[in-house]
């Protein structure tokens, strides 16, 4: 897959339009997933992805191939999402689902474990969407997509120090939501489970 993408990217850089379309087909769902995680909205994610591919197409000559095409596209998507969120400037408040704790860590074992994983993902997704957009962007890019601090800072237009501070704050908030203390909503079950 990675080799295929590298070949397609190389052909696209040489001006092959069909190769770029092949790249889009191979990566758009992944780009959409990242955009959705960053924006928290299907509609916004669609716009961000469209913009990201346009930028990628126009900037293809600048893609040197030292990173994978996916990583390069993630950075462009993050940059587009940051620009989009700044433009949008409207807060979104999602209701968090705080019913139960994550349960099993071995999803491959049985259907119950898979269901538990799906439930955990749903809770984590809700917790992520409950974060302010700037904080969510940093934790998603670092802890989900494994981008280096320096790249995250550049794409979001902030200093590396600020990116780290946001990351640590985001982790703290997520932990508090995923593992609420006793006395907080959902705290009894979680405290027992940990």
């Amino acid at each position: 897959m990675a080799a295929d993408l590298a070949d397609l990217a190389s052909a696209a850089r040489a001006g092959d339009r069909a190769a770029f379309e092949g790249l889009v087909r191979a990566t758009y769902a992944d780009a959409y997933t990242l955009a959705y995680r960053l924006t928290g909205s299907e509609e916004d994610a669609r716009d961000v992805v469209q913009d990201a591919y346009l930028r990628a197409y126009k900037g293809l000559k600048r893609f040197r191939g030292d990173a994978s095409f996916s990583t390069w596209l993630h950075r462009i998507t993050a940059n587009c999402a940051a620009t989009y969120l700044v433009k949008r400037r409207k807060a979104r408040h999602e209701v968090l689902d705080e019913e139960q704790a994550p349960a099993d860590e071995r999803p491959e074992v049985d259907p119950e474990a898979r269901a538990a994983l799906a439930f955990e993902r749903e809770r984590l997704g809700a917790a992520l969407q409950g974060l302010p957009a700037q904080m969510r962007a940093v934790v998603v890019l670092r802890d989900v997509y494994d981008l280096p601090h320096e790249a995250i800072a550049r794409e979001l237009g902030i200093s590396e120090g600020a990116a780290k501070v946001r990351l640590h704050r985001a982790r703290r908030r997520l932990r508090e939501r995923m593992f609420p203390a006793r006395g907080e909503p959902g705290g009894e079950e979680v405290a027992d489970a940990v």
Partner: protein
Amino acid sequence: MRCEDVAELLPQVVDGGRADPSVRAHVEACLRCQAEMVQYRKLLKALHNLRTEVLEPAPGMLPGILASLEAVGERGAVRSLLSGHRAAYVGGVAVATAAAGAAGAFLVVSRGRRRVRLAS
């Protein structure tokens, strides 16, 4: 060192961030901070696992992206075509000007020779 102070540092310590030895020593000896550290590790693992999840975009999204790329490609083609025409136009004007200049110079020279011949 107090748990409250250590708690501030756990989000950066959890994935290998630099930490004062006194922080590590506190965590090793404190069950409460160890429990928090375990929660952070679980959180990071759950976040990392999200990477394998790919959401399904709406069916019209791919055609939309391809259509917008097509439009950009066409605009680019038209632009390069126009700039090619412009270059040809400018080139044509330059050649015509040069030709007109050469013709003018030839006329002036030939009239001058005729006058000279008539005078002699």
